[in-house]
Symmetry: C2
Subunit: 207 residues, 2 copies
């Protein structure tokens, strides 16, 4: 298993390489990729050795080849299908944004308890009753879940996702989830981020 | 200046203490707070010593007293006023959520370039033309900014915020901002979080 930190850097390298490819750059040296990624050149070389990619240091790495290789490590062949639970304000913003944006991760179904939302199609994604999560997860091959329900509902939404067989959860509710250790959780805590900015922006916590 | 990690833990302690206060709990021992916060008890005691709070370990800490003390450290007396730049899908979801939610951080104005959005009031917050950011920042006493514009516009939005005098930025655009070192930046990268979940949810990156 590749460590968490390495995966984060690979995601950064991929995003940078995609930009290089769009700008027509054919090859890139490890020290140039390192500068763009704000890491040391030795870190880039160590990461690429860890994933088994050998470029010729004298000519640099082929941008497209490295890009494809990293995508092979990061992505699931055939793509990843996600369910979004809680099609409220934040959930709908996420659906609009991710609709068709990624070739490997697709939000294929949304789920809610609000009868005004169930049955709607939001940014190309149909919203079902949460009761149907188990059946739809099997039907669509859903393996990850996005939790955008109110804090008080987050644990039950997560439990329903795990029950439906997901192995990864992206949680936006500001509560820690108690989940089986074999399910991978990433927490995005927007409120905490805002509070941190507000604190360090104060004059006396000056630099 | 209190280290970044300590501030993150204080934000966690405050959230937990708020919940305890709501549930009518009067005092709490450091080891109980530590358990809730998923840290070691010695870490809680060290953090509270660092901010100069002395409770009596034998009776525990007074919940309300500790809560008020931590808020005094974290918050700006008189509150923090924020500007949101880019009142699109994500921006509007943030405005709806933070409207009146916090007593110390308030989004007091939004800014956009889209004439269909400028002039609207979204969740109690008026949207102005980005050209007015400087004048309005002075008028409202805005000290932090939230960037929810497209990636290609993020640097110019951040520059406009810094020009208008903000000292902290919460950036949702998936690009690193090049900003003066005395402006504090927190990056929330939803796309990276989703890609990480998708990777670790794969069967073969198994646990
Ligand atoms: N909107 C933001 O900018 C923001 C910021 C910080 C944190 N958050 C967090 O994100 C989450 C969503 O926030 P929001 O602003 O979109 O809230 P919201 O109230 O607009 O949306 C919540 C949605 O979840 C649905 N729901 C409730 N219980 C459910 C259940 N058991 N199963 C399925 N659906 C259920 C509701 O019907 C609603 O559509 C919250 O936990 C909130 O704390 C949001
Ligand atoms: N929506 C999401 O769930 C999501 C997920 C991941 C990342 N993001 C990032 O968040 C940002 C916002 O995403 P969104 O989905 O809300 O996009 P959006 O297109 O819905 O909204 C962007 C808004 O910014 C405004 N704008 C453009 N240039 C501007 C400028 N120079 N000054 C002020 N306003 C300007 C537009 O008029 C629009 O209202 C993007 O950078 C996106 O990459 C969003």
């Amino acid at each position: 298993k590749i460590p968490d930190r390495t995966i984060e850097r690979l995601i950064t390298y991929r995003r940078l390489l995609q930009k290089q490819a769009v700008e027509g750059v054919i090859s890139i040296y490890s020290h140039d990729l390192a500068t763009l990624a704000h890491v040391k050149p030795v870190q880039v070389r160590r990461d690429l050795m860890e994933i088994g990619f050998s470029g010729s240091p004298s000519k640099g790495y082929g941008v497209q080849g490295l890009l494809d290789y990293i995508s092979g490590i990061l992505d699931m062949p055939g793509g990843t299908k996600a369910a979004l639970v809680g099609a409220g304000n934040l959930g709908r913003a996420l659906l609009s944004y991710f609709n068709g944006r990624s070739s490997t991760i697709n939000v294929v179904a949304a789920f809610d308890v609000d009868t005004n939302i169930i049955g709607r199609v939001i940014a190309g994604c149909r919203c079902y009753d949460i009761q149907e999560l188990g059946a739809r997860a099997k039907e669509f091959g859903i393996t990850i879940g996005i939790v955008t329900v109110p804090a008080t509902q987050a644990q039950s939404a997560a439990d329903a996702l795990v029950e439906a067989g997901v192995t990864g959860i992206l949680n936006f509710a500001p509560v820690p989830l108690r989940i089986r250790p074999d399910v991978y959780i990433v927490q995005v805590d927007i409120t905490r981020a805002l509070e941190k900015v507000a604190h360090f922006a104060k004059p006396q916590s000056a630099k």
